[in-house]
C-alpha cells in the first residue's frame, strides 16, 4: 500500500501482512475473550495463515498464535502498516 496507512479488518489481510488493532465491532463477551488472548487496541498483529474457503485465520500477537473464524476476524478493525 505504498507505505500508506489504511483502515480495514483482520479478515481482509493476506498472510504475512502486519497491522495494528484499532477496535472491535461486536459483543462484550467476544471482546472479553479476545482481550484475554491478548488481542486489544494498540496491539500489533501479523497474519500467519488463512485457510481456504473462508476458513479460520491464524495471527501472531506478541509472538503468540491465536486462531479465529473469519467472522470474528472481520469484526476486528485494524490499521495496516505500509
Amino acid at each position: 500500500m505504498d507505505g500508506k496507512e489504511a483502515m480495514t479488518n483482520l479478515a481482509a489481510l493476506p498472510a504475512g501482512r502486519t497491522a495494528v488493532v484499532v477496535g472491535f465491532n461486536g459483543g462484550r463477551g467476544m471482546m472479553r475473550k479476545l482481550d484475554a488472548l491478548g488481542l486489544r487496541p494498540g496491539k500489533q498483529v501479523r497474519v500467519v495463515s488463512s485457510q481456504f474457503m473462508a476458513g479460520p485465520i491464524t495471527v501472531l500477537i506478541d509472538g503468540r498464535g491465536v486462531a479465529m473464524g473469519r467472522g470474528i476476524a472481520s469484526r476486528v478493525q485494524v490499521r495496516t502498516m505500509g
Partner: protein, 591 residues
C-alpha cells in the same frame, strides 16, 4: 475414564492443618508439569461438583507440613468466558495459597490473570515458568524488580528440567498477599508499565519450532503434515498395541494363567454351572481365552490382554499430541469441514478422546458452547466413533483379512459421520459459534507429566472397564442359561437374518453391546461369521447404541428429550446402514 460422584474436595477430612495450594495460570503454561514436579505418585483426578470439569489433586510436603496441591483448570481471566473458567474462579474460594504459574515467554498476557489474582489479596507466589525457553527467545526478566512491583515472591522455574522447583516450594512459606493496587480500567496500562520496567527482549531469528508452527497451519502444507502426523500416531498405536499383545499380554496369559485355569477346570469337574460361569465352555476340550466366555478366562482376557495394550498405546499417542500443542492446530485445519457438520474445528477433540473411550469424549462435550453443537457432536460420537476397546476387538476379528476387512468397517463409519453430520446440521436449530483458540508454541512433552496423565487415564480404564466386562460376561452366561438369548433370537430372527444376514445368535452380541462393546464383539467370535457378516456386525455394533457408561453421561449432558431424538437417529441409522451395507457387499461379491 471413570465418573466420580461429584463431591467438593473438602479440607475437613484430613484435619484442619492441611494447607490447600492452588496452581493457577493460563492454559498452556506448563502448569501440569509444575504440578507433576511438586506432587508425588499419589494423584487423583476429580470432577468439580456438578460439572464435568476435571482437575488433578496431589500431595506436597513443605518442611513437614502436608499440603494438598490442586491443579486448577487453566484460565486467562477471573471474568470467566467459559464453564471451565467459571470453575477455576469458584475453586479460588477453597484455597489457602496460590501458586500463579506464569509463562515467562509471554509475560504481558499472563500478568492479566496475575493482577486479577493480586486484587483478591490471597497469599500468593509467582512461578515464572518456561524460564529457559524465555532466555532462548532472547527474553530477560528482572526477577527481583518484578517481585518488588507485585509484592509477592517470584521464582523462575523450568518445570521440564525441574530447575527452580525446590525454590518454589520454599517460597510458599513467604507467600504474600501483594500490595499492588490499581483501577480495573487501568489494568492493561499497569501491566504495560510493569513489562516495560522488568522485561528486555533481544531480537532473535525464528526458531525451528516457530517455523514448524507456521507450516502446520499453512493452508496447503498444513493438511499434508496433518495426514503424516495422524498416520504416524496410528502406526505408533498399532506398533505398541500389537507389540504389547504379542510379546507381553498373550505369552503371560498362556504361560501363567492357562495352567491355573486348566487346573481349575479339572477341579470343577470340567463342566457344570460353576465351571461354565468361571471357566466357560471348553473348546475342543481346552480353555480358549477368546471363546470360552468364563469370567476368569474371557472375562479377564478381553480387558487385560486384548484391549488394555491398545488403550495404553492410544493414550500414549494422544498424550503426545496434546502436550506438544498440536491439537489446536488440527482444530484450525479441520474447521472448514467441521462447519459443514454444524460444528467447529475444536469439536475434533471430543471425537479423538472418544476414540480412546466414549465416556471422556462425551464428558468433554461440555467445552462446546451451544445446544446444537452438543447434540450433533454427541450423536456423531455415539454412532460413528468406536472406542479403542471395540477397535482392538474388531482388529482381532478382522485382522486376518487386512485392509479388506478394516476399510469397509472404518470407511463406512467415516462416511456415516460425514453424512449424518451434514443432515443434522440442516435439521438442528441453533447456532454454531466460530473457532477462537490460543495456538501455543510447540513444546517437547515433559515425560513426567505425560506418564502421570497416562496413568490416571489407565486407572480410569481399570475401574470402569474391568467390572463392566466381568458383569457383561456374567450376564452373557445368565442369558444363555435362562434361555433368554434363544427366545430373543427367535423373536428377532426375521430381521437379523433377512436384513442383516447374521445368524440369530448375533442378537446376543447386540444385547450385550448395551453394556460393553468389546465383550459384544468378542461374542461374534465363536459364531464363525463370514467376512461380509463380520463387517456388517462390526458397523452395526458400533452404531446402534452407546454402551451404558456413555449413555449415562450423554443422558446427563443432553437431557431426556435430546437423548431420545439422538437414540432414534442411532437405531434407524445403524440398522438402515447395516442392511444397505449387506446389500452393497453382496453386490460386490463379498461373502
Amino acid at each position: 475414564m471413570r465418573m466420580m460422584v461429584p463431591t467438593r474436595p473438602s479440607a475437613g477430612a484430613d484435619g484442619g492443618s492441611e494447607k490447600r495450594v492452588l496452581l493457577m495460570g493460563n492454559p498452556n503454561v506448563g502448569k501440569s508439569a509444575v504440578f507433576s514436579r511438586l506432587t508425588g505418585a499419589h494423584v487423583i483426578a476429580s470432577n468439580y461438583p456438578g460439572t464435568t470439569v476435571t482437575f488433578a489433586e496431589g500431595l506436597l510436603r513443605v518442611d513437614g507440613q502436608r499440603c494438598r496441591v490442586i491443579d486448577v483448570p487453566g484460565t486467562y481471566t477471573l471474568e470467566p468466558t467459559s464453564r471451565a473458567e467459571e470453575v477455576a474462579v469458584e475453586m479460588l474460594a477453597d484455597g489457602d495459597v496460590i501458586i500463579n504459574v506464569v509463562d515467562a515467554t509471554n509475560l504481558e498476557r499472563n500478568l492479566n490473570l496475575t493482577l486479577q489474582l493480586l486484587k483478591r489479596r490471597f497469599p500468593m507466589v509467582v512461578a515464572l515458568n518456561m524460564w529457559d525457553e524465555a532466555l532462548e527467545h532472547g527474553v530477560t526478566i528482572d526477577v527481583p524488580a518484578l517481585a518488588d512491583l507485585l509484592g509477592v515472591p517470584v521464582v523462575p522455574t523450568c518445570a521440564i528440567s525441574g530447575e527452580g522447583l525446590k525454590d518454589l516450594q520454599q517460597s510458599l512459606k513467604r507467600a504474600a498477599a501483594g500490595r499492588l493496587d490499581y483501577e480495573d480500567a487501568e489494568r492493561w496500562h499497569v501491566i504495560g508499565d510493569i513489562v516495560e520496567r522488568v522485561q528486555q527482549v533481544a531480537h532473535k531469528h525464528p526458531t525451528i519450532g516457530q517455523r514448524l508452527s507456521h507450516a502446520t497451519v499453512h493452508p496447503v502444507l498444513g493438511p499434508v503434515l496433518a495426514l503424516l502426523i495422524l498416520a504416524a500416531s496410528f502406526e505408533l498405536v498399532r506398533f505398541v498395541g500389537e507389540g504389547l499383545i504379542g510379546y507381553a499380554a498373550e505369552p503371560l496369559f498362556d504361560l501363567l494363567w492357562r495352567p491355573l485355569m486348566e487346573r481349575l477346570s479339572v477341579a470343577l469337574g470340567s463342566g457344570g454351572v460353576l465351571h461354565d460361569l468361571l471357566v466357560g465352555d471348553l473348546v475342543d476340550g481346552q480353555v480358549s481365552f477368546g471363546e470360552s466366555f468364563g469370567m476368569l478366562t474371557t472375562g479377564l482376557y478381553i480387558p487385560l490382554a486384548a484391549v488394555l495394550p491398545y488403550v495404553f498405546a492410544f493414550y500414549l499417542a494422544l498424550g503426545i499430541l496434546e502436550d506438544s500443542g498440536y491439537l489446536p492446530r488440527l482444530g484450525v485445519l479441520v474447521d472448514n469441514v467441521m462447519h459443514r457438520l454444524g460444528l467447529h474445528g475444536l469439536s475434533i477433540v471430543p471425537m479423538m478422546l472418544g476414540l480412546g473411550c466414549n465416556v471422556p469424549g462425551a464428558l468433554s462435550l461440555r467445552v462446546l458452547e451451544t445446544r446444537k453443537e452438543r447434540f450433533i457432536a454427541a450423536t456423531l460420537l455415539a454412532i460413528c466413533v468406536p472406542c479403542m476397546a471395540q477397535i482392538a476387538m474388531i482388529a482381532g476379528l478382522l485382522g486376518q483379512y487386512g485392509a479388506a476387512g478394516f476399510l469397509p468397517v472404518f470407511g463406512t463409519l467415516f462416511l456415516m459421520w460425514l453424512g449424518l453430520g451434514v443432515l443434522m446440521k440442516r435439521f438442528t436449530h441453533g447456532a454454531t459459534p466460530e473457532i477462537l483458540v490460543d495456538i501455543p508454541p510447540y513444546r517437547l512433552p515433559y515425560w513426567g507429566a505425560l506418564l502421570k496423565k497416562l496413568w490416571m487415564r489407565l486407572k480410569g480404564f481399570f475401574k470402569e472397564a474391568i467390572p463392566y466386562v466381568l458383569v457383561g460376561v456374567l450376564i452373557v452366561n445368565l442369558l444363555y442359561t435362562f434361555g433368554v438369548i434363544g427366545l430373543l433370537s427367535r423373536l428377532f430372527r426375521p430381521f437379523v437374518t433377512h436384513v442383516l444376514d447374521l445368524p440369530p445368535e448375533a442378537i446376543g452380541a447386540l444385547l450385550v453391546g448395551f453394556l460393553r462393546k468389546d465383550v459384544a464383539v468378542g461374542m461374534l467370535r465363536p459364531l464363525d461369521l463370514s467376512l461380509r457378516q463380520l463387517i456388517v456386525a462390526s458397523v452395526v455394533l458400533t452404531a446402534y447404541f452407546p454402551c451404558v457408561a456413555t449413555f449415562i453421561v450423554l443422558f446427563r449432558e443432553l437431557g431426556w428429550r435430546d437423548m431420545l431424538k439422538s437414540a432414534l437417529i442411532m437405531v434407524v441409522t445403524a440398522f438402515g446402514v447395516g442392511g444397505l451395507l449387506n446389500v452393497i457387499l453382496s453386490g460386490l461379491g463379498v461373502n
